[in-house]
Point group: C2
Chain length 426, copies 2
């Protein structure tokens, strides 16, 4: 296909006319589709229904060590749940605390606690003039929303195919004591699906922060979320690497089963050094008398072990793979060679990230909206919802049916073409 | 029985010798009993086992409005769960947000949010020189632990049989703008089992705080927790009273099913004005994508409505009534007339509160401990674990079996006698 950039003005104007017409016809269809939500579909959720049967009235809900899961206690979570989550992210069970249904809450609490109580005895961040977080972009809007809520200044760090630009990370972290954290999604990143290279992970572990209370917020949300059976990424264990590099306390790692069991009723965990966990426990022991251990037991009884999780994730992969492929095929078929956008073909995670011509993302999303297809809001993948290039669009293929997704993607590529050509004709 | 105070020194010395001997024999039995924990017993937890069956793989876990409870969303909780919890505390459902398994977490979050973000636009408390909370005493150690954790200064307010000393409350709240809150357990208070009189509730609602961000923390933890079928307390609806008095935003009310369904796997709620709920939602929407709605659905399906909760609570009452009676009978039989302690006979809740002779609580608890009976730590019912009179002891009768409880109470009264007589002989 001929790239738009190489077309003459007349060619562009003529093509534009065709596209405007196609768009009007598409709009007339009155579609109502949604590619905005990083949620599992109903059929994915159906895969785990037997989890609900794993705790029932016919059998005592008692853990391996005899704990009555119905009663108060065990703020660290059930021993066997700690083991299961630890195995999933490849760390020792004693480094893990298992919580309720939302790893986001743990992350929020971690920032909130640092604001009010500092980190392992450091000055509470609320007493500092400036607190900054590094934010690899594009990234996860809910991470950025937390730091924004607490008035933490966010600094964009560009991503490349091996992770965040580590030269910039190293410079900020080592030179600026107001830099207290960095948001990372190290495997199958949201939205690009990029997995950090071994070198990137090692450079993270080797950071020499100016601030003793600098922490890496390592949100390993998609660790088991492969799309393909053969072609899978794996990342190094950051806890182990930090320990080896002499910085055992530099990282908090987060994970959950939200997209393994149930998005609303899974279990979540935080992994870190004993010193960090002790710091966390000081607050946690006041916040709650314990997590929902019955739900932890359900998960352990159903999945049994890491192999159980992996087997289950193959079913999820089978369910979502055709959706990812459908979107990618359409992008390839309709946009390849036009030079009006690039995208990453992810091997896991929940998203496809599309980089439109600079200045076109808002226009594309708004064209889609007008024709009945909802995409994640423009800028959502950047701190302050501000994508300086107005380029990134996050596509979430899992929730719609395959048929809906095909229709939505057809409209999407049409809108990409139209918005791009409108820009080029300006 | 002759009071110890009216005995001659010789009588006291002789009795003391008998008691020391009895204590040595009791100690020799090597008992190991626990009256410290305000936890439901296993047989109480058995009452609700069918809750676990209320969500299973044979039936869609979908709420009344069609929400797939397995997926993300609904940060306010399921509509029908809001109705259930609202009916339990007698407020409109739209004033209620239903959360996870711990009302303590909501309270902690409320204080934490006020520290970092203030209350409805007020100055964040972390920026103030002094923040104070009023603490009716004796009270709940976990309340006090939260405010202590955030460096909030706590002021003791004495309780009488109609609730906190309202003259003191009114004076502090109206005159001191650093007073930002008060911890209340208005019905069957922990540990005394006192229910606030209508006049007390109305005086709360009529408070004219010096601080616009003063809030009543109304922990209605035992609203449905009657011990007797006939003789039950009921308190006025504080939300309604505050609204009538022109202070609709002055109160946060908390409740949970922790001691109705499962202590570790119940559901909890906060009730307040729309303005306060909107303030809460600003943080809550960043903290989590939603509570565990499947567990909410379990509760609604099992209890159905307020009548269902009440019927279930009758079973709890039948289970714990003999335990309360056993303790009270022993106290009555062994201590009545001796003038070495007083206690409240509660009509609900989870505790019996014992007031020893001033300066004797630590000694009694330590004697019990040495002979194998664990009681709640001395001072635990006061801010900073500091009971200025060293008098209050909290007895938790629900968790042990009736037989264990009888043995433990026998030892308890012996230790009360011994510690008292040792003091009188000094």
């Amino acid at each position: 296909m001929k790239s738009y950039g190489s077309m003459s003005r007349d060619e562009l104007l003529s093509l534009r006319q065709d596209l405007e017409q196609s768009y009007e016809s598409a709009k007339a269809k009155g579609q109502k589709l949604d590619m905005s939500r990083g949620k599992p579909s109903a059929s994915q959720l159906d895969l785990g229904m037997a989890i609900l049967d794993a705790a029932n009235s016919s059998r005592p809900v008692v853990s391996e060590d005899g704990t009555d899961c119905r009663n108060y206690g065990q703020p660290d979570g059930l021993k066997e749940a700690r083991k299961l989550m630890a195995d999933m992210i490849g760390v020792p069970a004693e480094n893990v605390i298992v919580g309720g249904n939302s790893s986001l809450s743990i992350m929020y609490d971690m920032v909130s606690r640092s604001m009010t109580h500092g980190v392992m005895g450091s000055t509470p961040w609320c007493r500092l003039d400036k607190v900054r977080f590094l934010c690899p972009v594009p990234g996860y809007d809910r991470h950025f929303a937390i730091t924004e809520h607490f008035g933490i200044e966010m600094i964009n760090i560009p991503m490349d195919m091996s992770g965040p630009d580590m030269s910039q990370v190293e410079k900020y972290v080592s030179e600026d004591a107001s830099v207290k954290g960095i948001w990372c999604i190290p495997q199958y990143s949201n939205p690009q699906g990029i997995s950090y290279s071994d070198e990137t992970v090692r450079r993270f572990a080797a950071l020499n922060p100016a601030a003793a209370d600098f922490r890496i917020y390592w949100d390993n949300a998609y660790v088991a979320h492969h799309i393909y059976e053969e072609d899978q990424d794996a990342i190094l264990d950051i806890l182990g690497e930090c320990e080896k590099a002499g910085h055992p306390d530099m990282v908090y790692e987060f994970c959950s089963t939200s997209k393994i069991s149930f998005a609303g009723a899974g279990i979540c965990a935080v992994a870190s050094s004993q010193a960090n966990l002790d710091d966390i426990r000081k607050s946690l022991s006041l916040q709650t008398i314990g997590p929902d251990k019955i739900n932890q037991l359900r998960h352990v009884r159903y999945f049994k072990d890491l192999a159980g999780i992996q087997a289950h994730m193959k079913k999820h992969a089978a369910s979502i793979r055709p959706k990812f492929q459908a979107v990618l095929e359409t992008l390839e078929k309709e946009l390849s060679g036009l030079e009006i956008g690039t995208w990453v073909k992810p091997k896991g995670g929940y998203f496809i990230s599309f980089a439109a011509l600079p200045g076109c993302a808002k226009a594309i999303i708004s064209l889609c909206k007008e024709a009945g297809v909802t995409l994640t809001g423009a800028g959502a993948t950047y701190p302050y919802k501000n994508d300086p290039d107005d380029s990134n669009i996050r596509i979430a293929p899992t929730f719609p049916t395959e048929e809906e997704l095909k229709q939505a993607t057809d409209l999407f590529v049409l809108c990409v073409k139209l918005a791009s050509i409108r820009k080029l004709c300006r």
